[in-house]
C-alpha cells in the first residue's frame, strides 16, 4: 500500500516539478555562487 502511495508521490513530484514545460533543447538551470543548501546553512 505504501509502495503504491510513494509511487504516486514520485510520479506526481516528477510531473509537477521536474518535467519541464519547455522543449528539451531549452533546458538550462539557473546558477548562483552558492547552492540553496549552502545559502540556508550560511543563513543559520
Amino acid at each position: 500500500m505504501m509502495l503504491l502511495y510513494f509511487s504516486i508521490v514520485g510520479v506526481l513530484f516528477y510531473k509537477l516539478f521536474l518535467q519541464s514545460p519547455l522543449p528539451a533543447k531549452e533546458e538550462t538551470v539557473a546558477g548562483t555562487n552558492q547552492s540553496t543548501y549552502e545559502q540556508s546553512k550560511a543563513a543559520v
Binding site: 510513494f6 508521490v9 514520485g10 509537477l16 519547455l22 540553496t36 543559520v44
Partner: protein, 446 residues
C-alpha cells in the same frame, strides 16, 4: 512537595532550552543542550544505565533523518532544486494563485520525501528566490512564505519518517510505521488541508492575480534564457534527476516494506543515501566529500542530549505531575485522550519547543497504565499537537526557527507578532480538525 533536585533539574532544562532557542552569537543549538545534559549526568539525575537506553532509542531515528539530509545534499549538488524553482515559475504561467498552489505542493512533497527541517532549509531559499525575481511587495510575498513554512512543517505528521521527534516517540510506544500511517494519514492530511485553505482565504486579496511576468508561451519564443537568471546556462541531466527521484521514492517505500521484516530504518535510509552518492559518482565523477562535510552530524548529539534532558525531567518527577493531572482524563476514553494530550503537547511545544514536548508527553503516557489502543491514540494526539499545534509560535518547532533565521539573513522582516497574527487564525482550527478527525477515524477503523 517539590524537592531541591526537581527545582535544579527544571532550572537546567529551562536554561538549556532558552539558550537553544536564543542561540547567542549564532552558536549551534547542540551546544547548550549538550552542556545541560552533561550537568544532569554529573549531578546523577540521569545515570549511566539510563544513558545506554537513551542511546538505543535516539541513534536509529537520528541516523534515519541524517540519511535523508545526505540525499538532499546530493540532489542539491546536481542542480535538482534550482531546476524545480525555475519550473515552478514557468508552470505558474503568470498566475499568482497557481504559484501559491505550486509552492504549497512543493513544501508538502519535500517534507514527504525528505524531512521537515530539510524541507524548510531547501524550500525557503527557493521561495525567496522566486519572490525576489517577481519583485513582490511585502504584502504579496507573505502568503507564499508563511504558507510554505506552515505546510512544510505540518506535513511531517502524516508519515512518521519525516520528523525525528515522531520517530523517537514511535520507538518509545512500540508502534510500527505502517500502523502509524494507517491511523494518522487521514486526520493529519485534513489538518494540512485546513491550514492551506484557511491561509488562502486569509490571503486571497494579497495574492497577485497576475505575476506580471513572461508567460509560458512567450518563454517558448525565447529559448536559451532562464527566468531566474538569463545569464547562466548550465547543462542539466534530466535522466539523472529521474534516477535520483526514483531512488528517493524507493527508499521511502522500503521504509514501510522492509521495516516489518526487522530491518532497521537507519540501515534502509543510509543504503538509499549511499546508492544516490554512487549514482552521482557514476554520472558526474563527484565523490563523497561534500556529503561528509555538509551533513549535520551534530544532530546525533543534539537528539541524544535533548533526550537526556527529558529523561532528567522524568526522573525528577515531572511525569508524575503530568500523570496526576492528566491520567484520569486520558483514561476516560479516546475522545478525552485525543483532546487532552493534543492540547497538552500544543501548549508545551509553544512554551519550550516540540522536540522535548513530544518526548515528555510520550514518556508520560507510557506510565499511565493505558490499554494499547488508548496508548497509541494518546501518542498520535501528541504528534498532532507537536507537528500542527506547535506552529502557533515560532518557538514551537526548530523548523520554524530555522525559517525565521533564513528570512532574517535575507533581510525579510518577519516579526513574531506578524507570524502569530496569522497562525492564531489558522493553527487552532487545523489542530481541532486534526484531533477530532483522529478521534472519529480511530472509532471507524479500530
Amino acid at each position: 512537595m517539590v524537592d531541591f533536585s526537581t527545582i535544579l533539574m527544571l532550572t537546567i532544562f529551562l536554561f538549556s532550552i532558552a539558550l537553544m532557542l536564543w542561540r547567542p552569537k549564532g552558536i549551534n543549538e547542540t551546544i547548550p543542550v549538550s552542556i545541560g545534559a552533561a550537568f544532569i549526568v554529573i549531578l546523577g539525575i540521569v545515570d549511566f544505565k539510563d544513558l545506554k537506553s537513551i542511546l538505543s532509542i535516539v541513534s536509529g531515528p537520528s541516523l534515519t533523518i541524517l540519511s535523508t539530509i545526505m540525499m538532499s545534499i546530493v540532489l542539491e549538488s546536481i542542480g535538482f532544486f534550482k531546476w524545480i524553482a525555475q519550473n515552478i515559475i514557468l508552470k505558474s504561467n503568470n498566475s499568482g494563485i497557481r504559484l501559491y498552489i505550486y509552492i504549497n505542493l512543493l513544501c508538502f512533497f519535500m517534507t514527504m520525501l525528505f524531512n521537515n527541517d530539510g524541507s524548510i532549509l531547501i524550500t525557503t531559499p527557493i521561495i525567496i528566490h522566486i519572490i525576489r525575481f517577481l519583485s513582490f511587495k511585502p504584502h504579496q510575498y507573505i502568503p507564499y512564505l508563511i504558507s510554505g513554512a506552515l505546510i512544510a512543517t505540518a506535513s511531517s505528521a502524516p508519515i512518521a519518517v519525516s520528523n525525528i521527534s515522531n520517530l523517537i516517540a514511535l520507538k518509545i510506544v512500540g508502534l510500527d510505521l505502517n500502523s502509524y500511517v494507517k491511523i494518522m494519514f487521514i486526520p493529519s492530511m485534513l489538518g494540512i488541508l485546513t491550514i492551506s485553505i484557511l491561509l488562502f482565504l486569509l490571503f486571497r486579496k494579497h495574492i497577485p492575480k497576475q505575476l506580471g511576468f513572461i508567460t509560458l508561451n512567450e518563454k517558448m519564443t525565447n529559448p536559451f534564457t532562464h527566468p531566474l537568471d538569463p545569464s547562466v546556462k548550465n547543462e542539466i541531466d534530466r535522466n539523472l534527476f529521474k534516477i535520483c527521484i526514483a531512488v528517493v521514492v524507493m527508499t521511502r517505500g522500503a521504509f514501510f516494506v522492509l521495516s516489518p521484516l526487522g530491518i532497521p530504518l537507519e540501515m534502509i535510509g543510509l543504503l538509499g543515501a549511499f546508492v544516490l552518492i554512487l549514482i552521482r559518482w557514476v554520472k558526474t565523477k563527484a565523490g563523497i566529500k561534500d556529503v561528509i562535510f555538509n551533513s549535520p552530524w551534530h544532530i546525533l548529539i543534539f537528539a541524544f542530549s535533548m533526550y537526556v534532558l527529558v529523561y532528567g525531567l522524568k526522573n525528577a518527577g515531572l511525569n508524575t505531575l503530568i500523570i496526576s493531572s492528566f491520567g484520569n482524563i486520558v483514561e476516560l476514553g479516546t475522545f478525552h485522550a485525543t483532546l487532552s494530550m493534543g492540547l497538552l503537547t500544543t501548549i508545551m511545544s509553544n512554551i519550550f519547543n516540540n522536540l522535548p514536548a513530544v518526548m515528555i508527553g510520550t514518556l508520560a503516557i507510557t506510565e499511565m497504565d493505558l490499554n494499547i489502543t488508548l496508548l497509541q491514540v494518546a501518542y498520535l494526539a501528541n504528534v498532532i499537537g507537536s507537528d500542527i499545534g506547535s506552529l502557533l509560535t515560532p518557538i514551537g518547532t526548530l523548523a520554524t526557527l530555522l525559517w525565521m533565521f533564513i528570512l532574517k539573513k535575507h533581510h525579510i522582516k518577519m516579526t513574531w507578532g506578524k507570524y502569530i497574527g496569522v497562525t492564531v487564525l489558522v493553527v487552532p482550527a487545523a489542530l481541532i480538525v486534526s484531533l477530532l478527525s483522529l478521534y472519529l477515524w480511530v472509532l471507524l477503523i479500530l
